[in-house]
Amino acid sequence: MRWVPLYKFIATLLRGKAVVLEGVFLLCVLLCSCTKEVAVSLKSITPKLVIEGVVSNQQDGSYVRLSYSQDFSNQQAFTYLADGLVVLTDSSRQVFDTLRSRLDENGYPYFPSRKIRPLPGHVYLLNVVVNGQSYSARSVMPDTVTFEGISLLSEAGKLDSKSVFTAVPQYVDPPGVRNFYRFEQYINHKKDPGINVLNDNVGDGLPNERPIFTKDIDIHLGDTLTVAMIQISEPVYQYFYQLQNNQQTLGATPSNPTTNITTTSSRAETGVLGYFSAEFCQYFTARITDE
């Protein structure tokens, strides 16, 4: 069992939840708890359609991906759809783009968009028809906030080869409007699976001081750290906030995130998973040195 570093406390504190559950974990470590892999008998359900739609300012960043969910115990790769009617619309400019599927670098089909231009304040619509069932979603591109860089916090304020660092993204939140942010961290070009979202319930209009946290990969001296700051809309924030909650070490009862994709069918089993997000993404890369 690995030691849970104390900064995780701070993590949860600043995220403002489940602070102490991590403390329970700390105590367990002290008391020599044990973790092992177990077999759990889980129900099998009819695969559900998963729609992931993104309109982004990044090069080739706008796409739609269709896939199916599968049983927990199924260790095969996910099934991605190559057929289906997928239309992205910039309703502010009345531009329609009917997407055609292509294969990504791993050989899985997806639907890239070239015609849709990401513009702050524009309303984007997604319409998908799969197996005669239609799905739609709407997302507004947020205004942009300048990503100024990252500062680093070191555990216990010391610096050596064992020090673990935590990144604090530097930006000034615009006052008076609600802003939502999602962050991704790449340590030596490997993506950490930790989900990080922030809103401005705390610190509206102020420079950010809240750190973001890695889940599986620690940041050490000499590492190259890339942080993506993605401005998102409130429904997408809520979607990722629930994913982040479900990721907590000893969280509360997990729940399925609320999707912003709607379907015309009233049958529950046709419920769709996933999200549609118009988002503004900025990257910042730094090498961790002892300055």
Partner: protein, 780 residues
């Protein structure tokens, strides 16, 4: 299930007629106090009856008082209490009489009773009725012999060995009663409410067993004097201190040490008690070579104090106080501390002719504070609940039965969880205004005999809760987290008010001297709600009062029971059904901490709980102990969760079995053990997985549709009494928690395999395997 006021009125009128019809012609009232001869402590639950005749007796109430009515002028009074010599007292009464009887502890060399130990006053006191259902008294001395985790005796953990009571987690002091949540238990320490009765994430309770005299758990129909929570009342009384001589007692354990001092202020009349306890896990951390571990703070302490002053023979003044604090963190960087502060000042007086008055001023405060320093920044996250409470209780013992009535008035202050702090140039504080409210309770309860076989206890409590200004309250609909409307209250202005009548009725039918049947109905309402987003007791759980959105939670409970004593055994069988209304839950994906108004994150619904509880206790012979079994179901139905269908509550456990046994091996050695077996908690597990954003996530099935694995565990404890010296006695306690090292699942997590992201695995974490403990207890 609501009795209409008119029906209630008719009911009470009929009751009054019945009572009048039963009044004896020449009834003589015998009442008094039962105390421990060596310490002067009042004894509760001592049985008092006429020994020659099979007239049923009574038991002393929570202030050590009893009251009996005799139709004959003479007889022999038999007084018995666990751990004390039976006392048979010949009496001749010509008028109403007040006795003060001191019992001699078992093992004492003194004679059973010398007449000087009995004081007689011409006055009266009140009694507790044996009609109550679902009442368990914890014998503190017995509890001290049972094995416990970390060797730290804990009354709250002993509770979970009783039927109808479930531990909230492995090694945890939090408990669920008959399908209620941890926030639906009214926990009172000398009448003061304790808002968070746990230390160190629930692994310890706030009750230092050295300071505790008695603990009563009422899970059924509590009498009308208690109110404010749905599931149970845990009434804990602190010791008053020895009024005969000075004593010290204490214990040294692996995790903590305790010390208590007690003695007379005025010999035989007034006394004091001071106890303290501190854990020292952090001292072990200091030994660590790892600097990060070394600088951690991880401890809690408790301080209890009580003073008992006899102003006159008929008037006593009691002061009790409790202070407890937990601290945990990394020095200078991060610190979380939380704790309760409570104080009670009680004036207890005998007004004459069976009229007894208790006036209490109560203060209770619970708060937590999290501090974080990073660079130039200093942040806090904190919240607070504070009560000022005035209670007046009258009781009147008359020939037709016992009445008690009174009122309580509580002024609540809440500081909702908020974030504050910053650096020299920026202030990140959230401004959430304090909330105020006023909670009142007015009650009347009657207990008496309708015939030699039929006893009855009936009561009504009227509770009122008002939101007080200043403040702004927002209104929400279940569909949206955005406020639809708001109400502005000025300083002192009374806002939304809820009025809840709470009738209670218990009847006992004595089949014969050894067996009885009981039935009860009670309605309770709860105006304070605990918001908890976690599976264990958490210091950041916050209390919130009724508002324009949150209505009072209600519970209607009916129960039926059969009780029988036979040759050294006692059997209790009770069944219950409980309907719960206006239950509070949170939305999926709720943020209970930084959201400006936490009420926007809540949902409301109903609940139901039912079950059967069996309890078989062996009190005589060398081998003593009990067996308790509960078969139960608890479900909730909340719009917005699980499609608005009934779902199992997290604390739903179908089967729950405990076996407790104690056996003296020799003069000095004693062994005690327990075994628990319970269905796993209801939990939510994934039923599928999917990929978005290049990561695998899980699709969860219906809320609480799965079960954690079966829980079972056995613990054992050996006590070695050291050779007694004149003024010093001591014992060693050697315990082993989880004897056969069962890995009971605390949590099961589902995740992508770190080494093979394409693969998903389920991982189970068990908190404790074998936990040995050694404690040295002493007394002089």
């Amino acid at each position: 299930m609501v009795l209409r006021p008119a029906i209630l009125l008719v009911f009470f009128l009929q009751l009054a007629c019945l009572i009048r019809a039963q009044k004896p012609v020449h009834a003589i009232k015998i009442s008094g106090r039962i105390t421990d001869q060596s310490s002067g402590e009042l004894l509760l639950g001592a049985s008092v009856k006429f020994g020659d005749k099979n007239i049923s007796g009574t038991v002393t109430n929570s202030y050590g008082f009893f009251s009996l009515v005799s139709k004959s002028v003479g007889g022999r009074l038999l007084i018995t209490h666990v751990g004390y010599q039976d006392t048979l007292l010949p009496v001749v009464f010509t008028r109403d009489t007040v006795l003060e009887i001191a019992l001699v502890p078992l093992g004492s060399s003194e004679a059973a009773l010398d007449s000087s130990a009995v004081k007689v006053y011409a006055n009266g006191q009140r009694q507790r009725s044996p009609t109550q259902m679902g009442v368990s008294q914890i014998d503190i001395k017995e509890a001290a012999r049972l094995p416990v985790i970390f060797g730290e005796r804990d009354v709250l953990k002993t509770l979970s060995l009783l039927p109808g009571v479930k531990q909230s987690g492995d090694g945890n002091a939090g408990f669920y009663v008959r399908g209620g949540t941890t926030g639906q238990n009214l926990i009172l320490l000398d009448e003061a409410p304790i808002y968070n009765a746990s230390h160190l994430f629930g692994f310890f309770s706030t009750f230092n067993s050295d300071a505790i005299k008695d603990v009563t758990l009422i899970k059924g129909s509590a009498d009308a004097r208690y109110g404010g929570r749905l599931a149970s009342v845990l009434d804990v009384h602190m010791k008053e201190g020895n009024n005969q001589s000075f004593h010290a007692a204490g214990g040294i354990g692996l995790i903590s040490s305790r010390l208590s001092l007690e003695g007379p202020i005025q010999k035989g009349r007034s006394s004091f008690l001071v106890t303290g306890r501190r854990t020292y896990a952090d001292l072990f951390l200091h030994l660590s070579k790892n600097k990060d571990v070394k600088n951690n703070a991880l401890y809690f302490y408790d301080l209890n104090g009580k003073a008992n002053l006899a102003i006159t023979d008929k008037t006593h003044l009691y002061f009790s106080g409790y202070l407890g604090t937990d601290k945990l963190g990394l020095k200078d960087q991060f610190m979380i501390d939380w704790g309760n502060k409570v104080a009670t000042l009680r004036l207890s007086s005998i007004l004459g002719d069976g009229l007894f008055s208790n006036t209490s001023f109560i203060f209770s405060d619970y708060r937590f504070n999290i501090l974080l320093k990073s660079g130039n920044n200093k942040f806090h996250l904190n919240s607070l609940i504070r009560d000022l409470d005035l209670k007046q209780d009258f009781s009147w013992n008359s020939a037709i039965g016992n009445f008690h009535g009174g009122l309580s008035s509580i002024y609540h202050q809440f500081d909702p969880t908020h974030f504050s702090g910053g650096n020299d140039s920026s202030d990140y504080s959230q401004y959430k205004s304090m909330q105020y409210s006023w909670e009142n309770g007015l009650y009347l309860n009657y207990t008496g005999k309708l015939s030699s076989r039929l006893e009855l206890s009936a009561g009504i409590r009227l509770s009122a809760y008002s939101v007080l200004g200043p403040g702004t309250y927002y209104k929400y609909t279940p569909e949206s987290t955005t406020a639809q409307d708001s109400v502005q209250l000025n300083q002192g202005q009374i806002g939304k008010t809820y009025l809840n009548p709470e009738p209670r009725l218990s009847v006992a039918w004595h089949l014969n001297n050894a067996a009885s049947l009981k039935a009860s109905y009670s309605r309770n309402s709860q105006h304070l709600h605990l918001l908890s987003n976690s599976l264990s007791t958490n210091p950041t759980d916050q209390w919130i009062g009724d508002s324009y959105n949150i209505r009072p939670e209600t519970a209607d409970q009916i129960s039926l029971g059969y009780y029988r004593d036979f040759s050294g055994y006692r059997l209790e069988a009770e069944s219950y059904y409980k309907w719960m209304g206006a239950q509070v839950d949170y939305r999926n994906g709720a943020d209970l901490t930084t959201t400006q108004d936490v009420e926007s994150q809540l949902l409301y619904g109903i609940g139901r709980a039912y079950g059967l509880e069996l309890y078989l206790k062996k009190n005589q012979g060398k081998l003593t102990g009990w067996l308790s079994y509960t078969l139960s179901r608890t479900e909730k139905k909340i719009a917005g969760i699980s499609g608005g269908n009934w779902y199992k509550a997290h604390q739903d456990r179908t089967h729950d079995l405990s076996v407790v046994a104690m056996y003296p091996l020799s003069e000095r050695w004693e062994v005690a053990g327990d075994f628990m077996l319970a269905t796993g908690n209801a939990v939510t597990f994934p039923e599928a997985k999917y990929s978005v954003n290049n990561q695998t996530f899980f699709y969860y099935g219906n809320r609480n549709d799965y079960r954690m694995p079966l829980y079972h565990r056995m613990d054992i404890n050996f006590t070695l009494k050291c050779k007694p010296k004149k003024h010093y006695s001591a014992s060693w306690s050697f315990g082993l928690y989880n004897v056969y090292g069962r890995e009971n699942a605390y949590i099961i997590r589902f995740e992508q395999d770190e080494n093979n992201p394409g693969k998903t695995v389920a991982k189970q974490t068990a908190l404790f395997r074998w936990v040995p403990s050694v404690t040295y207890n002493f007394k002089f």
